[in-house]
Amino acid sequence: MKNKELLKVTGLSKSFGGVKAVNNVSFTLYEGESIGVIGPNGSGKSTLINLITGFIKPDSGTVIYKGRNITGIAPNRAVNLGIARSFQMVRPFYNMEAYKNLIIPLYSPRVKKQLQGGNFGDRDEIAIQLLEDVGFERESQIPYKLTGSLPHGYLKRLELARCLCLEPDLVVLDELFSGMSMSEVASTVPILERILQEGRDMIMIEHRIRELFRIVNKVICLNFGKKIAEGTPEEVMNTKEVKEAYLGSEGESIA
């Protein structure tokens, strides 16, 4: 049941002075689908999504989003088209209260345009509501704490909250679970599943493959910037190149 294409990436490549970070990668994402991106460290995963979301300009290749060519688009315009992203290295606003961090995305043209009509009430109220969804317990005053004093797990969820408040069509998560404790991961997975049920798409880079495979229905694997495998999680795990990429060439087959 191939419904409409949401995102079509063809021949995307980028090199930093001789190092080919991303080398001719292409894939297609259909509406309602979610895709995982796996691969060893330094295989170009983060660079790939930076290229898609416009933070880095590609050397060659095109990115078509909802039929529109957004290659090398300004990052903020990509966000306003509905592509929300989180950063691998967390980037909150440290000397503000936690809920104030969400005022910025709520101030973006996309949110203003969407919530036309009735007065959408006080942005602070919406921000605290969103933080609660993501797991900031309101009673213990966590949303009011200074961002700098929050533990790493909360900062990661703050990134997720920032994506959600933009009501995005495509959520791009870069190693959301890294730095989270097992309990925090367990409490965040249902949130991600709820996002998918709402019909939003997702591109997720993750090293915790077990949780990743529970969420996404399609996976691509990168190694040294090249796409070496694509398909359902099971297919990808059994392809030889993927095992070699992860375990080195002489590795025996894994379960």
Binding site: F16, G17, S46, N50, F55, I56, F87
Partner: protein, 289 residues
């Protein structure tokens, strides 16, 4: 006309390079923009003048000046700048304040008369491509190239140089591998001071030492360093050549009073187009997402 423009363009480029090397080295190796560069340059000039007045032979006076100015550079870092290391704004203001203090103190001492000048190293002239060039200016070209080569060799081939370069690119990793950042910064300030002294001894004999040169020198050093790219010596050489010839060409074909506008325009254009300077890579590193 063209030959003399070529020759004097090269001389002008060498002068710019000598003036900017000290500043660029300190800025490149320790990340501290030493705005007191003009003050140090003039300190070396007046020091050399007084040493010579005391009757010291020329070369001893020059070597002594270079050594003392290097000590001054190190002292500026060790005593003052070390306290504000890291806060870029305070570093810039602190060094600028030191620069002002030095320059205005010389003015208070009454160094405003016209008797302050340094003797030529070598008198006499020779003609190449039928333009007469005096030994002093040709020596400037030679010394400028020597210093640039030494700087490149020092930063890329010697142990201490590589340590300094590592410190400039990423202070925390350099600290992690055991390079003491204060030692590195003191060292780069000292070498910066020495280069400023060499520049003073070579360039000041061409005219009269006056205090307003201090502010001019800072502007030139800023322009060339920014244009060339922070830590790349090749970028610095390229920038000096471009600026040197641009100035001579504008003053020959258009009008000399456009000279000043040239290197100010150079800063604006290059930074708008390629923020990290012609050959610099620093900015790209910073931009990594």
């Amino acid at each position: 006309m063209i030959e003399s423009m070529l020759v004097f363009g090269l001389v002008n480029s060498a002068v710019l390079m000598l003036l900017a090397l000290g500043f660029s080295l300190t800025f490149g190796l320790s990340g501290v923009a030493n705005f007191s560069h003009g003050g140090i340059y003039l300190f070396a000039g007046y020091l050399a003048y007084f040493l010579l007045k005391m009757g010291l032979p020329y070369f001893i006076a020059v070597v002594l000046t270079i050594f003392i100015t290097a000590l001054l550079g190190a002292a500026i870092y060790k005593l003052i700048v070390i306290r504000v290391r890291g806060i870029v704004l305070n570093e810039v203001i602190a060094t600028f304040a030191i620069g002002i203090c030095m320059l205005e103190f010389f003015r208070w001492l009454g160094f405003v008369t016209y008797e302050y000048s340094l003797p030529y190293i070598a008198r006499g002239r020779f003609t190449i491509f039928e333009t007469t060039l005096d030994y002093q200016r040709s020596l400037i070209i030679v010394v400028a190239l020597l210093l640039a080569v030494f700087l490149w060799f020092f930063t890329h081939r010697t142990k201490t140089g590589l340590a300094l370069l590592g410190m400039a690119q990423d202070e925390y990793t350099a600290l992690a591998v055991g390079i003491d950042s204060d030692w590195a910064a003191t060292y780069s300030f000292a070498i910066g001071g020495a280069f400023a002294a060499i520049a003073a001894v070579m360039i000041l004999p061409l005219g009269i030492i006056n205090i307003n040169i201090g502010y001019e020198v800072l502007l030139i050093a800023l322009a060339v360093t920014v244009l060339g790219g922070l830590e790349s010596t090749k970028g610095l050489i390229l920038a000096c050549i471009i600026l040197g010839y641009a100035q001579v060409i504008t003053s020959t074909f258009f009008a000399p009073h456009w000279k000043e506008a040239v290197y100010l325009a150079a800063i604006l254009i290059v930074l708008a187009v390629k923020p990290s300077g012609l050959l610099g890579k620093f900015k790209e590193l910073e931009e990594r997402v």
